[in-house]
């Protein structure tokens, strides 16, 4: 694990305090206010104050076991001011105008764990703040949502998939927990890895495969339950030639991930599908325009997945979509960081983000301001789909159940 702390020289430490006009608590309050007011004004949503009068099952008539869920992690790391704050709204037109009015929106999702993308995504997927090395090829230590889902509901491997951006996420599908053995979690597809195999020697492949923007010069060894090139044809019914030809029309790895998602939806219609998008993390290179481009692309791709959900017969009317960043990025005001570029300070802005849920039975156009924890996602999925996330430390989010 090698996230950086920001203890520099004494004068920097002094500036940490002097540069900030607000306490973390004041910043947090301001953050909530700006999000809430903005969403009300721009997307025509209302403040949610009470729980729904009946359960999700009663409202939809869809039993927990027949419900499908797609989770998009809007990554890696986007701040309010480039997304839902007034000055950022131009970057998320699809989320704002198409999806937010149909969603229940949580303005304050707090990640209290390690702010590295792999470990944070692992925390989202286990409901426990994981402490594994962000840059090593290690499985989560606590059981994943995929393992709970398959074990409790006795589902086959084909019913749960993860599509992730880079080699660093190859172990996210199943934990090292002794109650769950190898092969009991989700298959993980790494589209860039497949592309590497499919296009070996073609073009500037090494540059494309830059694995992690957090450590752009290092790629961990692959291992775990990952999907290999030959399985494109046998499992996804997609020829290597078609895959390669399609990749040559795309502009980014996240577009390739969404292409794979659509193939999975058509071939297997998995009940639980987890997509980690990552283009935004180009921000680590310090180019603001590329960070914004990444946000706009992720906004568009999120809407494309929602459209796919509505157009696929297996999903239409019975799928709940969750969209949430794994965390934010550093504040401009924190002298210990360098603004949007990194997520190293652990400040309020970098820890606080948002989540939207939409689908049948989910109240539309409602905003909740109460703090929700990142690790609340897994027990919420458990309540929604009928399994128990027994070792998760989060709590089900009752507003959408």
């Amino acid at each position: 694990m090698s996230s950086h702390t920001s203890l520099r020289t004494a004068k920097d430490r002094a500036r940490l305090a002097s540069a900030k006009g607000s306490t973390p608590q004041e910043l947090a309050r301001h953050l909530v206010w700006t999000r809430r007011e903005f969403l009300r004004g721009a997307a025509g949503v209302a403040l949610g104050s009470s729980l729904l009068p009946s359960s999700l099952i009663a409202r939809t008539g869809i039993s927990a076991r027949k419900r499908k869920v797609v989770v998009i992690t809007f990554g890696g790391g986007a701040r309010d001011q480039e997304t839902f704050a007034p000055e950022g709204q131009e970057n998320v037109p699809h989320l704002l105008r198409e999806l937010a009015p149909q969603s229940t929106f949580f303005t304050q999702v707090v990640n209290r764990g390690i702010l590295g993308h792999y470990v944070a995504t692992a925390s989202l997927a286990t409901g426990v703040y994981e402490t594994i090395n962000n840059f090593a090829s290690l499985p989560p230590e606590s059981p994943t949502v995929f393992e709970y889902f398959r074990k409790d509901l006795k589902r086959p491997a084909s019913d749960v998939w993860v599509v992730a951006p880079s080699n660093g996420f190859n172990r996210i599908g199943e934990s090292s927990h002794r109650s769950f053995g190898p092969g009991s979690g989700a298959r993980v597809i790494l589209p860039k890895y497949l592309l590497g195999a499919a296009t070996s020697g073609l073009g500037d492949y090494g540059h494309l495969l830059r694995d992690s923007y957090e450590t752009p010069l290092y790629a961990p060894e692959l291992s775990g339950n990952i999907f290999e090139l030959e399985q494109l044809e046998t499992i996804l019914k997609l020829s290597v030639e078609d895959f390669r030809a399609h990749a040559l029309t795309l502009s980014s790895p996240d577009e390739l991930s969404v292409y794979i998602v659509r193939q999975l939806m058509r071939q297997f219609a998995p009940s639980l599908l987890w997509v980690t998008l990552h283009d935004i993390d180009i921000a680590h290179a310090g180019a603001y325009s590329l960070y914004i481009e990444g946000i706009r692309r992720t906004d568009r791709l999120s809407a494309e997945i929602w459209k796919a959900i509505q157009s696929e017969p297996e999903y239409a009317g019975k799928c709940t979509l969750f969209i949430l960043p794994d965390f934010g990025r550093d504040s401009d005001e924190d002298a210990g960081g360098n603004g949007f570029q990194h997520h190293r300070t652990g400040d309020v802005i970098s820890r606080t983000t948002w989540m939207m849920a939409l689908g049948p039975g989910i109240r539309e156009g409602v905003v909740y301001d109460r703090p929700v924890d990142s690790i609340d996602l897994v027990p919420t999925l458990g309540s929604m789909m009928g399994f128990t996330a027994s070792l998760s430390r989060g709590k089900p989010i009752t507003e959408i159940l």
């Binding site: 694990m1 090698s2 002094a14 500036r15 940490l16 492949y205 603004g339 570029q341 652990g346």
Partner: protein, 401 residues
């Protein structure tokens, strides 16, 4: 190894002036907690390569620590002593390699959920230090200048959105001889307030001729060093067992001569430039990131009176389909994207300048190169105003003072 067991010979690997400083304060070091001391030693070990202002700050901080009574010291470091360290951290050679210790400490703090406590301790220390050791005001008001948008005919959107509210927006700047006027102003300030590393000119491309009393850093001049660094990194990452921590350690130890930097020259400036590339993120590949980070580090470390930062077009980020398509190797530029990067970079330059003592009197000018738009921030100019009067840059600068 604990601080109270420190011995003089353990500092034998320090550069001469750093060693002398360490031995002068050995007794003080023995009284400090291990969660704090290595971050202080990280500064001490670099003493020979520090700018004059940094040396003074460090000496004052050390003098203050030495002056504290036993009771005061306990109060100052109570929160640091409550940080739990691991046995492996305690076994590290934090005297010889304090930076590596701090990096490992950072990982430990994240993994053990002590980052917030550490952050609180650091802020508390900074508050106390600021109260005990007054910051040095500048001898005259600082002036920051950012020149953005080189090679762009039409801006893709409104510029200076973040800075306008703090100053006056000029919409009818006469751009003729603009750069020359700015360099003349920098030269005049260097002439009237001569100070080592007190006046800087940073260029994202090829530097223009400038006065001899001005410290100059440019992306173009660093090209051979960048190439040598990337080749070195590439070679290292091919080695078995090379992970991100090891790579970062290696980069931190690289000396100028190992990166094709001519022997001789100014060792302080050479070390500064190497650090821009080995510690900065994206500075090796994007000129806009290089300029923003160089200005930030120059301000943070040298606390100059003048900084002229001229952004230049960075290389274009190729979309995936181009990376996969073999073609002639040529570096294409992205002037419009670079303008967006630089607009944000200019805002960060101003923020970083405002973190320094004397901020209430400091001046800042940002200009869209060869165009009519600029924003000037000065106590002499009303905030949030617009001037449509035709005026050249020299005229704006005269209004600012």
């Amino acid at each position: 190894m604990h601080p109270e067991d420190l011995k003089p010979e353990q500092f034998s690997g320090y550069p001469p002036e750093a060693r002398k400083l360490a031995l002068d304060y050995l007794e003080t070091f023995r009284r400090l907690p291990l969660s704090f001391l290595p971050s202080l030693l990280r500064e001490v070990i670099e003493f020979d390569f520090k700018f004059p202002v940094e040396r003074r700050h460090l000496e004052k901080e050390l003098g203050n620590l030495r002056s504290l009574s036993h009771e005061d010291l306990r109060a100052w470091f109570r929160e640091f002593t409550e940080i739990r360290l691991s046995e492996s951290l305690e076994k590290l050679n934090w005297i010889a390699s304090p930076a590596q210790f701090v990096e490992q400490l950072s990982a430990h703090l994240w993994a053990t959920h002590q980052m917030d406590a550490f952050r609180h301790a650091a802020l508390g220390y900074a508050d106390k230090l600021r109260a005990a050791v007054a910051p040095e005001p500048p001898t005259s008001p600082r002036l920051g200048i950012a020149v953005i948008g080189q090679g762009v005919d039409v801006a893709p959107g409104p510029l200076f959105r973040k800075l306008r509210t703090y100053g006056a927006y000029f919409s009818a700047v006469n751009p003729e001889n603009g750069l020359r006027q700015l360099l003349e102003v920098v030269a005049a300030r260097a002439n009237s307030n001569p100070a080592p590393y007190g006046h800087w000119y940073i260029d994202g491309g090829e530097p223009l001729p400038h006065a001899s009393g001005v410290t100059s850093v440019s992306y173009q001049a660093m090209e051979p060093v960048r190439a040598a660094l990337l080749a070195r990194i590439h070679a290292e990452t091919q080695k078995t067992g090379m992970g991100p921590e090891a790579l970062r350690t290696l980069m931190a130890r690289l000396r100028p001569v190992e990166l094709s930097m001519a022997p001789g020259g100014d060792p302080v400036l050479n070390r500064f430039q190497i650090k821009l590339l080995t510690e900065g993120s994206g500075t090796q590949i994007f000129s806009t990131s290089f300029v923003e980070w160089a200005a930030r580090e120059a301000l943070r470390r040298a606390e100059p009176l003048t900084v002229l930062a001229r952004f230049a077009p960075r290389q274009r980020q190729k979309p995936m389909h181009e990376l996969l398509s073999p073609g002639p190797e040529q570096v294409a530029l992205d002037p419009v994207g670079s303008l967006v990067d630089a607009d944000m970079g200019a805002y960060y330059n101003w923020m970083n300048q405002q973190r320094l003592p004397g901020s209430e009197k400091s001046l800042f000018l940002v200009w869209f190169e060869n165009h009519k738009e600029a924003v000037a921030i000065s106590p002499a100019l009303p905030r949030g105003t617009v001037s449509t009067e035709t005026i050249d840059l020299r005229g704006i600068l005269s209004w600012m003072t």
